[in-house]
């Protein structure tokens, strides 16, 4: 195990972390403000990826595709909120789970209907192709660094939006007391739709960016969705700061676990056994971390004031 390889894996972990943050931010905002658990968030991620791949294939421009992914995911999110989600705020979590589960079926099968069962491919834009030399001599893909930078910029932007703007103030007010801000004359329905569309756009952006390094296919959102759930549980549901810390924790622990555990186990068992055993334990690692954190802090690292 060389230093360069370890650094590369660490960066991969950070990249996964920022990706997860884009997903988790929307989930945690929607839960924090509206008290809604949205399983269909992964579908919005898929919508973003498909919009980007389709538009990029039609126009030949990744950047137009990226813009389309934001627009389509936000649009799909707003549509979802106005037609279905809005009716669920007053329901209990069980009904929210079921309704958004139904939405997943509709979105997945609908996408398969439109695009067929074969995965689409999305090329990395020419500007971001190539690699950068890391200290230690390894080459690291520029595109992945760009994902990290985008994630960091979005995190910063989201922080400024929530803490410095009027919209952010209303979102925070909506989190702590929705009747009160409605009484003060804020149009709470529009605010909810906006928050939902914002979360959807972030998920769509994540989907589009990941689409260029993996294949774009139906069902791609679900594994990410579940990781995003782990993220917001670790971070504390409703907290953007928690989502950020949780996302990076999950990204790095998961990636480094898969990289290090099989090697560590060679000290204890034969190399032939170490690989599958390491892989099996590594795939469970983040859930063990989550269980540990919850055992110590049942409401996550940064519990939002409820």
């Amino acid at each position: 195990m060389t230093f360069a390889l370890a650094l590369e894996q660490l960066l991969n972990g950070v990249q996964l972390g920022f990706m997860l943050f884009l997903m988790a931010a929307g989930l945690t905002l929607v839960f924090g403000v509206m008290g809604l658990i949205n399983l269909a968030h992964g579908s919005l991620y898929m919508v973003g990826a498909f919009a980007c791949a389709a538009v990029a294939a039609a126009t030949g421009s990744f950047w137009l595709g990226l813009a389309a992914s934001l627009a389509f995911a936000a649009g799909a999110g707003a549509l979802m909120e106005v037609t279905v989600i809005r009716r669920l705020y007053s329901r209990d979590h069980l009904e929210q789970v079921l309704a958004t589960y139904a939405l997943i079926l509709i979105f997945s099968e609908g996408t398969r209907w439109l695009f067929g069962s074969f995965p689409l491919y999305l090329d990395i834009p020419p500007l971001l192709q190539g690699a950068v030399s890391l200290p230690g001599g390894a080459q690291y893909p520029l595109y992945r660094l760009a994902i990290i930078a985008t994630g960091a910029a979005v995190a910063m932007g989201l922080y400024l939006l929530i803490s410095r703007t009027r919209l952010g103030m209303r979102i925070r007010a909506g989190e702590s007391d929705r009747e009160m801000i409605a009484a003060l004359g804020v149009d709470i329905r529009t605010l909810y739709t906006l928050v939902f569309a914002l979360g959807a756009a972030l998920a769509g952006l994540a989907g589009a960016m990941v689409g260029a390094i993996q294949s774009v296919q139906v069902g791609m959102g679900e594994p990410v969705l579940i990781l995003a759930f782990v993220v917001i549980i670790i971070g504390g549901i409703g907290s953007i700061k928690g989502a950020f810390v949780g996302a990076l924790t999950v990204g790095v622990v998961d990636t480094m676990g898969r990289f290090l555990l099989p090697q560590l186990l060679t000290f204890f068992v034969s190399p032939a056994d170490a690989k599958p055993m390491g892989a099996a334990i590594a795939s469970m690692l983040i859930y063990l971390v989550m269980a540990f954190i919850l055992a110590v802090k049942p409401r996550g690292l940064f519990p939002a004031q409820a």
Binding site: S283, L294, A295, P298
Partner: protein, 323 residues
């Protein structure tokens, strides 16, 4: 209430009558559908104990369903190959032994998952149970000893004393019998002191605590019992398909179980059976019309949640007494 009892009896009889008629007409596939309904209803009855009576929205019951399935698959694989398992145990093809093992293992795992998860509530509980099930799902995929991602075939259906389980009708009777026994048990639990406490905990755990009953052990007991019942269904399901794969652990399975309960009517004794029957029939009918059946299933589910609260049992037998 009386009306619900007669509807329940009618459903129990219908589930028995349909395969008997199908057998006379030589329609084996209908018997398989009825068996599927009985097994899914059994799994959902397990979940109904935690979710319906206890208000514990577990989104991870696929874990127990899969454990049951793998118990059947692994034990029979060892019995066939003659390769001993741990402690020199040679595996088994006897359903009764398999059920025992499945229930005990699922109970122990349920105890572990429950002990951690029940420290939380609400959305945290939903997500943490989901996460634990995913953990087991990924373990099953990456653990190569029993087929890994490809799953494990069961060459011959496991055996039940006095019956030939390879005949669809006799296997159906096993599933049906177990379902009816479990529904009886569910009814007993619901009207017992424990059941009363469990439902009180769902309605208001602070009040229950204030009269001196600790909610945690009650919830944990319900969760473990629920896990054990769902595991039995998993073992039967593996025998029905003669195949187990990690998809039994997938979160779609957990979602499906919740869907069955809500379709049928949450907390109702025969809700899971009504839900499973409707679900399997819908799947069959829609699947015959279009290959996009999941799309329409989604629309129907959405309509049920938004407009038909109380599910099938709510429509047929009126509102539940408790609430």
């Amino acid at each position: 209430m009386k009306r619900e009892v007669s509807i329940n009896a009618a459903m129990a009889l219908a589930l028995l009558a349909v395969p008997i008629i199908a057998l006379q007409m030589g329609q084996t596939f209908t018997i398989t559908l009825a068996t599927r309904i009985a097994i899914l209803a059994l799994a959902a009855t397990g979940l109904n104990l935690a979710l319906g009576l206890g208000g514990l929205v577990s989104f991870g019951h696929a874990a127990f369903f899969g454990i049951g399935g793998y118990a059947a698959g692994i034990l029979s694989a060892h019995a066939l190959s003659g390769e001993p398992m741990i402690f020199g145990f040679e595996g088994s093809q006897a359903m009764l032994t398999i059920w025992l093992v499945a229930a005990v293992i699922a109970g122990l795992v349920g105890l572990g998952i429950g002990a951690v998860s029940l420290r939380t509530s609400g959305v945290y509980f939903i997500m943490i149970t989901l996460a634990f099930a995913q953990m087991i799902f990924y373990f099953a995929i990456s653990w190569p000893a029993y087929g890994g991602e490809d799953g494990l075939s069961i060459a011959v259906r496991n055996k039940f004393p006095g019956l030939n389980t390879m005949r669809p009708m006799e296997f159906f009777l096993v599933a049906y019998g177990l379902l009816m026994l479990t529904l009886g048990l569910f009814g007993l639990i619901r009207s017992s002191r424990f059941g009363a406490a469990l439902q009180a905990v769902r309605q208001n755990d602070v009040r229950v605590a204030s009269i001196g009953i600790k909610p945690f052990p009650i919830r944990l007991t319900a969760f473990v019992l629920s896990a054990m019942i769902t595991a039995l269904a998993g073992a039967l399901y593996a025998d029905l398909n003669r195949f187990v794969s990690p998809s039994m652990f997938s979160w779609h399975m957990s979602g499906e179980l919740i869907v069955l309960i809500i379709l049928g009517g949450t907390g109702r004794l025969f809700g899971p059976l009504a839900g499973a029957a409707l679900y399997v029939i819908l799947e069959f009918v829609l699947g015959g019309i279009t290959e996009r059946w999941q799309f329409f299933l989604g629309l129907i589910l959405l309509a049920v949640v938004l407009f038909a609260r109380g599910g099938v049992m709510g429509l047929l037998a009126g509102k539940a007494r408790h609430g």
